[in-house]
């Protein structure tokens, strides 16, 4: 299900009222021309998962926090912010969770440069 960034917080809190009260995961995928932030929510009683997708422009990367609805979003948001360079608004500045920033692009963005690129198409090169 596609959701606008502006409506994300209200959608998630209204879904929580409808039974989707368990946050499975927040993650993101870098499609180069856009970035999809993915929120997976679960209704445990009805055994249903719902995936919310928020499409972001790489030049305007921010998302509202959903920590008021789900405390579990805390570390997921920190991880996403660190790995994709997405700013999370509505909560205090996030300390890096997994890595030390060395001035390069965020690691899970496709623009991230490997120190020694591994050529899978031709491993001998």
């Amino acid at each position: 299900m596609k959701v606008d960034r502006e409506k994300l917080t209200s959608t998630i809190s209204s879904m929580k009222g409808k039974g989707y009260d368990y946050l499975v995961k927040i993650t993101a995928v870098d499609y180069v021309d856009h970035i999809d932030a993915i929120y997976i929510l679960r209704d445990m009683e009805a055994k249903k998962d719902e995936t919310l997708e928020v499409t972001l422009n790489p030049k305007d990367l921010w998302l509202p926090t959903i920590i008021d609805s789900h405390k579990s979003a805390d570390w997921y948001e920190r991880e996403m912010s660190e790995m994709f360079g997405i700013e999370i608004r509505g909560r205090r500045a996030l300390r890096l969770l997994l890595e030390k920033w060395d001035g390069t692009d965020p690691p899970l963005r496709k623009t991230f440069q490997w120190y020694a690129p591994y050529n899978t198409a031709n491993p001998k090169k």
Binding site: I40, K71, W75, L98, Y118, T120
Partner: protein, 364 residues
Amino acid sequence: MALTRINIGPVHPSTHGVIHLVVDIDGDTIADVEPHIGFLHRGVEKLTETRMYMQNPPYMEKLDYIAPMSYNEAYVAAVESAMGIEVKERAQYIRVILLELQRIASHLLSVGLLCNDLGQMFTGFMWTFKDRDLVLDLLQEAAGSRMFYVNMRLGGLNRDLPPDFADHANETLNYLEKRVTEYENYIEKSPIFTERMKGVGFMSPEEAKNLGVTGPVLRGSGVDYDVRKNNPYYVYEKLHFSTKVLHEGDNFARYKVRMLEMKESIRLVRTALRMLPDGDALGMPVKLRSPNPVNRIATVNRELPRGEVYMYLVADPQKPYRLSMRSPNFINLAALKHITRGQRIADLFAIMGSLDLVMGCVDR
């Protein structure tokens, strides 16, 4: 009153891995715990984007090194789902058998380490570790290796079970069943153990859901969710088993869920061995080039010994475009801050032990 700040780790025998805890204490009451993680971060999610599909399983096994096969299976299942590959029926049974054996091995270690953390130094640990070895013997017979198996292939396994596997397994399981009951008597009658477990580290069902915890930690808080039951995969539906849920929500409940799950896993393996059909269980041989995916996005969730892993795979031809893993330990550790607030500093490791964390899986 002024708070005292103490640093625990990054290297500490009771943290079960490399983690740095910054603990603020008021007297001997915990005011706040801030875990600093990332010491074992290897960037596996990024690494998978540069390797062909079947080059990745060895990396997956190094994430959760206490139950490597389970993680590997989840990854291979995600790839199979992307490629639309059906797993052969016999292979499905064998996978269930091996995964449940892996669960027993993992829980045995967890219970042993918990005894260590609570001051029953090495007696409980050595007993469970010895019994874990018997399970590893079985896994070695079936997969060919003791620690890192890499035995999952697309659509099946690297080898079939040896002819006398069922006899060996039943013999070991009979012994283990007796031993698990012995452990219960030994551990649960010890006041050293129970006084630091019962009523400590409480988490209500609502809090457990809000904190997103998973696996035995979630079921120990009275939330009945087990992927094997609620979103069944392979032949779990045919095997008739029950999920173990306790409503106390304390350390003891989390420990007890693992004990009960071990007994249930023993029953599951026995049933699966009895129902094991004939046929072929071998998967595709490992080649660098694998079939091209038919689905762009594949999602798979699996119940690991430590909780639910959720694989979100965006598939490109020949290699993953993006693999995102929901690590059960990551989210269980995030809950530590909330559970420990107001508890005694001496109980910190009892609570951490009851969460059963593996840092390789937290950091990825």
